[in-house]
Amino acid sequence: MTQWDVLVAGGGNAALCAAIAARRAGCSVLVLEKAPKFYRGGNTRHTRNMRCAHDAATGTLTGPYTGDEFMEDLLRVTGGNTDEALSRMMIARSYDMLDWIQEQGVRFQPSLGGTLSLGRTNSFFLGGGRSMLNALYRTAEGLGVVVRYEHEITGVEIEGHRFRAATVRHQDGESRIEAQTFIAASGGFQADIDWLKEGWGERAENFLIRGTPYNKGSLTRALIDSGVQQIGDAAQCHAVAIDARAPKYDGGIITRLDCVVFGIVVNKNAERFYDEGEDIWPKRYAIWGRLVAAQPEQIAYIVFDAPNLEKFMPSLFPPVEADSIAGLAGKLSLDPAALADTVDAFNNAVVGGRPFDHTEPDGNRTQGLPIDKTNWAQRIETPPFYAYPVRPGITFTYLGVRVDAHARMVMADGAVSENMFAAGEIMAGNVLGQGYAAGIGMTIGAVFGRLAGEEAAAHVA
């Protein structure tokens, strides 16, 4: 039986960065991807950018974004709920990632049209995440990494704290694959609704999964059951509010809605439930998934009027449209009187008066409502009126395996495994205890992937 130097579970950004780094260091590398070729790479297919620290503007980034500022952003979005030493290490290594990932064939471009406020901090992939992924696969396979699709790891043999072999399910049955080192980069478990229920209860039935249907976390489960230390809880994840009409899985970026700041958001009872103008949208989009998840039946409606229709990026489904608020309520199956009351109360409370500017807090607010809108408050008064129904859209989960600063897995008893590593969503909970900042998932994947590959290679040598 062949023994591989490095066995990589998963086929996304983290897995490929690990495979390439290990292969470049001279190892034999086998990548096992559960999905068929088209769906390879998990959520990487749906990504569009990566957040890396840099001290100066580049051809595609508009200005410097230092490691300190990156760390401040991370501390703010997570509310301090992060392994700070590990995060500092990741951010320090993200500087070099901008060059390294381009050396692997990935190409960058300036921030996409319509995506405001990310041009300085985030590097966008030319052609998007699948293009990025294709480049990594071309590089990996060109170097001699072996990739097998529709191969799912169903079990791991761990002796002491050492990985010995994995049980793999594929078209022809099951096999046992031995390797000197093992890198788990197989994503989160967000596509397993039952597991989500452990954190969210029955509410999870109403969640939409924005990305791959293949991330069910079977390897995460197997590792934890085999004695690897769990990090995070099942309720923590990157969740945004997406169009309720999106497919259950894999709707991707085009079901997102960037219009909360232009109107109000009401729940099933036609009541507002949160300040829609708390901060600029790129800093707040990641909280609305959880906010909607807390509402009855996990549904909400973004309501706005005609002048705002083309102020945000278009999305896949057209908005629900009516000539009156009552008519809109009818189409949304909301109580017309209740929605009219909410809109009237909101309109009457608008102070406003300053020039409307959605790119920074503009001070146009309401006064005297139980929940005020503190910026961008404008009366909803010009028909036709529009609404988008939204539900929580789960991007990826944070519960996973604990790692140390070498990307090595930490066991439940606190010991460090010498030959088991983790990268990407499966260990994102080490960095993200809660909250999210755009592009950070790819940073976690690339930095820890590369690190895991290098460390695995060092172990083999």
């Binding site: 088209f38 190409r107 996409l112 998007g128 699948r130 293009s131 497919p247 085009i254 990026m313 896949l316």
Partner: protein
């Protein structure tokens, strides 16, 4: 907005999907052009379709291509829209069905014209000239007098110009007849001459697989510049004839001959490469019902180029007569079918590039 064909309806659906994603906007001109709009008329979609060079990059970069339920296939759909747009704008309207039967039309046209030239050579002059013209002074003019050639090909060429112009005018009007400045023409000429957008956003094009190893850009350059060189050869020969009174045949080292030889090589090598690429192309990137037009256009260019080259090489053998019939038949068939086949793609693409240059220029003025 309702659309007049299934392909246009599908293109409109895709532009809604793509406009909500925009991941591909760095790949080519199509996506930035799309971002300028939220709804699309048939004319807009035909404009976008003619901007698309079918490099295939967005097909492989898209996270929503089949088997995904969103079934996004931009290059395949735009190829269909583009081919249908050639027919839609053609003049006169009665000739539009020719696009779908272009291959058959070419085959019949070529057979008929070659036969007629042979018959003409035999009937109009000395019947023995068909195989002995290479010995005569004036060589091919012993088969067909210069003035007869000028009259026939001049008339065919003029007809072609009128018909192509009428089609282009219809295309342009449907695109909103935008005001184009010299700078826009300069951009369009540059982008067309270098095939700027036939490069997958810098990585290279895709043809038979998900590897960007396609050489269509090279083959197209051979073909296009070969065509231009042949055109230049004929134009220069015309100048020689009418301005300087120098009659053909010209020596191999004369201007027209050198241009013709270089052009003939381009029009042989280029179409061969393009034919091979077309044969191996992924079905997903191709069209339904236009294969005859696409292959036919390449074949008629190939026959024109190779027969011209053969005339130069074998013009002093008894093959002169048959080769001349083949070459003249190919050229005449080409001229007559130019308004009703793939030839118009060059003009429509140029116009789309010019409109795009103008649209982007105006857009940047607005947003600055």
């Amino acid at each position: 907005m309702s659309h007049s064909t299934p392909a246009l309806t599908e293109a409109n659906r895709l532009m809604t999907v793509c406009n909500s994603c925009r991941y591909c906007e760095g790949l080519c001109a199509v996506f930035p052009a799309m971002e300028l709009k939220r709804s699309f008329s048939d004319g807009d979609l035909n404009h976008l379709a003619n901007l698309c060079h079918n490099c295939g990059a967005c097909y492989h970069d898209c996270q929503f291509t089949p088997p995904h339920e969103f079934a996004v296939n931009v290059p395949g759909t735009l190829a269909q829209v583009r081919s249908e747009s050639y027919a839609h704008y053609a003049w006169p309207a009665a000739a539009r069905p020719l696009f779908a039967r272009h291959g058959t039309a070419l085959a019949i046209g070529l057979t008929l014209t070659v036969a007629l030239f042979i018959a003409g050579f035999v009937a109009a002059g000395d019947p023995g000239a068909l195989t002995s013209a290479h010995l005569a002074e004036g060589r091919f003019y012993a088969l067909m007098p210069h003035n007869a050639m000028v009259a026939l090909f001049g008339a065919a060429f003029l007809w072609m110009l009128v018909a192509v112009f009428m089609g282009a005018r219809a295309f342009w009007r449907d695109a909103g007849a935008p005001q184009i400045g010299a700078i826009d023409h300069a951009h369009a000429a540059h982008d067309a001459a270098r095939l700027r957008y036939l490069d997958g956003g810098g990585m290279g094009c895709f043809n038979d697989s998900d590897q960007p190893d396609d050489r269509r850009k090279l083959w197209h350059h051979f073909t296009f510049y070969g065509f231009l060189l042949c055109f230049a050869a004929t134009s220069l020969a015309t100048l020689y004839h009418y301005i300087f009174g120098w009659s053909a045949p010209y020596a191999w080292h004369s201007g027209p001959a050198l241009l013709g030889i270089a052009g003939g090589i381009g029009l042989t090598v280029g179409p061969l490469g393009l034919l091979r690429a077309k044969q191996t192309r992924m079905n997903e990137l191709g069209t339904q019902g236009f294969r005859g037009m696409e292959v036919g256009f390449i074949l008629i260019l190939l026959i024109t180029g190779t027969s011209g080259l053969a005339l130069r090489l074998l013009g002093e053998t008894p093959l002169l007569g048959p080769l001349l019939a083949l070459h003249l038949g190919a050229v005449l068939t080409f001229f007559l079918t130019m308004p009703y086949g793939k030839f118009v793609h060059g003009l429509y693409r140029y116009l789309a590039l010019a409109r795009h240059a103008r649209d982007m220029r105006r857009h940047s003025l607005q947003t600055d």
